[in-house]
Symmetry: D2
Subunit: 338 residues, 4 copies
């Protein structure tokens, strides 16, 4: 970190910082040439806390120069991580399509959906069995019954399945049915849950928090990886802004930024990212063209009868049309699809 001292910093306060750093075994260097003292402190062993220095009354500003995460960083591992989920290899040459309903509702719905996902070239079936909802009075999913249906439908169609886990207690039951566990936006800061899935040997799909910075998101991945599970796929799903035309503002620039900072694969969820089904096709193509490793899209045979989030689900016709368009974009990007 770089500590910029005030112009009239006292020798006493400058020494104090150097001593504090020395006590923690940190390397210190000092620069006095241009009118004010600048202290550079580095820790060879890992991330560094700035707190002890921030209260020195002669400190004007502290600038971190190392990232606060390590295992998730491109500096730690320069080649890109490829996460295998069933037949899909997320992070490789393929543009992986994940699709399914917001919530598993009944056998007819989920089997019809798994068929169409397969037909469209999808590799992974998504579907919620435990739904976190803003209001305690909303539909919260079928629970284990939903997990079973999801697994059966995936199995029957030859698709891997991904589903969200929202409570620590569900971990065994969800891991039993799912090929990949999803940590939703609301749980990105739920460190207990992150640590628990970090102890599994299953891929984890980690959604960006509702308003998480990219650095916080990579730190959430770090929590998982630090427990031993390095099979993490990041998922951009929109951030909060002042614009009210969309539920969230899909931050597609997160794709190339993550590619630069981290070796982990990144996919995009344009359904939650926009909250409007009619924006999903264009935002899917945009995400693919930005270099996303995959897409996760909500579909429903009859979106207007969906038990949750119907307004952001594609019907089967729109979905098949989008899949065709995605194939073209994938080819233009030199990627395989389907």
């Amino acid at each position: 970190m770089i500590i910029i001292m005030k112009k009239d910093a006292s020798a006493h306060n400058i020494q104090k910082i150097c001593k504090q750093a020395g006590k923690s075994g940190l390397a210190v260097d000092i620069l006095k040439g241009t009118g004010r003292t600048i202290i550079v402190i580095e820790n060879i062993r890992g991330p560094l806390e700035s707190s002890p220095f921030e209260l020195n009354e002669d400190v004007e500003k502290i600038i971190p120069i190392a990232e606060s995460y390590k295992l998730a960083g491109r500096n730690y591992k320069s080649e890109s991580t490829v996460v295998k989920v069933g037949e899909a290899k997320i992070g490789g040459k393929e543009l992986v399509l994940i699709a399914g309903p917001c919530a598993v509702e009944n056998p007819d719905q989920i089997f019809a959906i798994s068929d169409i996902v397969k037909k469209a070239g999808g590799k992974i079936l998504r579907g919620g069995a435990f739904k976190p909802r803003t209001s305690p009075y909303s539909f919260h999913g079928l629970g284990e019954e939903g997990l079973k249906l999801l697994a059966e439908a995936g199995n029957s169609a030859g698709l891997a399945v991904v589903t969200e886990i929202i409570e620590v207690d569900q971990i065994d039951i969800v891991a039993q049915y799912a090929d990949m566990l999803q940590i939703g936006s609301r749980n990105m800061y739920n460190y207990q849950l992150l640590k628990e899935v970090g102890r599994l040997k299953k891929p984890v799909l980690l959604k960006r928090g509702l308003s998480a910075t990219i650095e916080e998101w990579l730190n959430a991945a770090e929590y998982i990886m630090n427990e031993g599970n390095h099979e993490v796929v990041l998922c951009e799903r929109g951030i909060r802004t002042f614009e009210t035309q969309t539920r969230n503002t899909l931050d597609i620039s997160a794709v190339p930024i993550i590619k630069e900072l981290s070796h982990l694969p990144i996919i995009v969820d344009p359904s939650h990212g926009t909250g409007k089904w009619n924006l999903v096709p264009s935002m899917s193509c945009a995400s693919a063209a930005a270099g996303a490793d995959g897409l996760m899209i909500e579909i429903h045979p009859n979106p207007d009868e969906a038990l949750s989030d119907g307004f952001q689900s594609l019907n089967f016709d729109s979905f098949m049309e989008l899949a065709k368009q995605l194939k073209k974009i994938a080819m233009a990007m030199g990627r395989s699809f389907g």
Copy 2:
């Protein structure tokens, strides 16, 4: 809810919505006077899902007219709730002062602090034993040892204590030592944790999520109250904006808005809300003048040696001076203090 149909909506689609509503036992009214059809649907029994209607292709817009929460609303209970924590009555005439360190570090620190909190007119001692941190490599608190020290220091000084619970498994141990349990910003969407503290008979301090809307925040309170625990105190602690001069932007207008929408008491945490100790006094006074029922302030005997968040902690001199100023503001507002 009000459903505005497109100008050229078909009779079929209008009837479809009325039927869907009828099936769920909802009251429906239709208006056709001014060129487009507007359908009003109300549910006498509680909040209402808009999803089933949102996918009708002839719907232009759906506008909720009832709140998504109920028990937390001023409509449910018109008189203000007063939550008792030790001697403090939060939500009444008193401006309640809560103060303490970010993290309990050792006996000397916490006993020195509890003395000064008492002296300043504070009623509740805060202190973290389990610390959620963005990076897995940061200091995470003393655990149960910290809880014990906190309780002893509070007891010795005659102060109630509040501390954060971050994992469901900690609930028994934390409830054993604390007079009020804090749900931190990162856990505002952790519905499992909300439901668990909802089953306790202890006051809960519910911080606003990092970027939660006021409606989501009240819904989080609803999760707690829906389990039977109505002793909820809300705590504004800053929201994310583009401004980089402060860690967060303290949304003081949340105070009068909460007072209007809800009967629950609201306090303000200017330490996390700004992230800079030198802004804490002015923002504390501002919050009190806006009508907050209390303040929660971070203090430390030697902020520059604090193990976490030292840069937002007041030292004892600044804290005593602030307490004097708060007393004046409280009197100007017709409230008691200390």
Copy 3:
């Protein structure tokens, strides 16, 4: 507009609103079926002010149902507008490439750039002669000398030119040299300037304000169109959010939203939208895949010697490579390029 009255609204206050509306010659309809009174008011002649009703003490909420703009709306003109600038037709089948330096610096620079823009398949040369800068001490452009160089370079390479106008007094001189006038983000709310360019017979490139909502942006277009000039091209260039990895968050979803709400063409400026040259190629491809009608990209022969915004400019090699990639995306989208 829809006016939702409070549950216990008085007959007096309901009548008052109806009278106020009647006085202004507005159509009124009332609905009383489901427990509260809802009043719908429509104006056949144009947008409607909600202010006179908003202060009625029994009004709970007012919801606008018509857009505040008219000429810019898809309702006013259902077929898409195509704006011709030199050989380029923005808003048609073609993906139009606009490129050039942030600021025109000298003949060598601008002629070298115009050559490479032509070679890459670009149709329009951009370049600033009058630069608005946050600090009064920054480089503010060459003025008329810059305009001349820009026009000569464009002419010589067979490219149309676009440049920013920042003050009303510059309008004649800029219109003399430029084929399209750019209104920058900082001036999107400068209604005097909007009205002035609205009286010209030249295409206008209207950038989205630094934090403008899409509705405000379309209203800015309305100011121009209301003066008679309907040749408006919208340009998305990023909005302010809490994320600090990028200068702005490029809101690519604005592309399909504008396509839905308006008949005007929309292009994207990924250089200002991200503020980092290394994100420009992926965000350009993403914008094209989202359906943008064109791209405006900053380039420089030696970005590290540029007098302004060098860090977001592509060098010639990266630019030629991007043009190749854009051609592939355009084809995948069924559009022409170059």
Copy 4:
């Protein structure tokens, strides 16, 4: 500025930066101790452009250490500036109350208002004659007729007057009638207008841009001051966030931050800052308690008949009650009022 080089930066690229800096006559210092090269560059003469260095391929990050403004900074002038407007001294011991209607509508309205402002202890009458509006179809003010009425009403009641100027051409006429000229939020980046009022010898009230950072705001003040006019009063009026309960989020923390960074006085406009009249009293008290030098409040004899922004205007009774409360807060803060 501090330039952090990449870990493997070449000697060539390090030297290049030093040479570039040397050419511009800047002082340079280099630090190599802790694994990577850090270059510190300072300009004794004024603010510094980072652009020339930002493109060096071995640069990882550039951190400005000096502010981009100068005259507006506390470093330039340590004692607080007091701006005199009529009898009011903004920036001194007094809490100055400015009030009036959004728009001057007719003699009865403005004379009734000026009387009540005087009675409440106000020192300055505000009122719009030229109104910038989002939609070209909204009410845009009475023009010079409005200015005359405002001046007469102010004169008759013994109040100074402030009004907004929105176009450069209005400068003479507005300056003729007003004691202080207001630059509105939409014009904070209108550098031509800033420079023009910078050449006057009249106080300027500079509102924060709709989503301006504090640094950009101080730079806008710098544009005015750089032309010779140092009589600038800053006015916080809310920023854009994701929260929809209020029109804007009033950033009260801007008050102590401006006090730290700048010597200029700062007032708060809670009417625009919240957009809801019922939040105005609490936010006014909060702003005063945060240390604001004054308040600007919208009032109207019949808010529900106001031609613009009625929903954020106080009626006379609420205004008089607020004035009483403000006096108490001012006294608690050791300030005078009225």
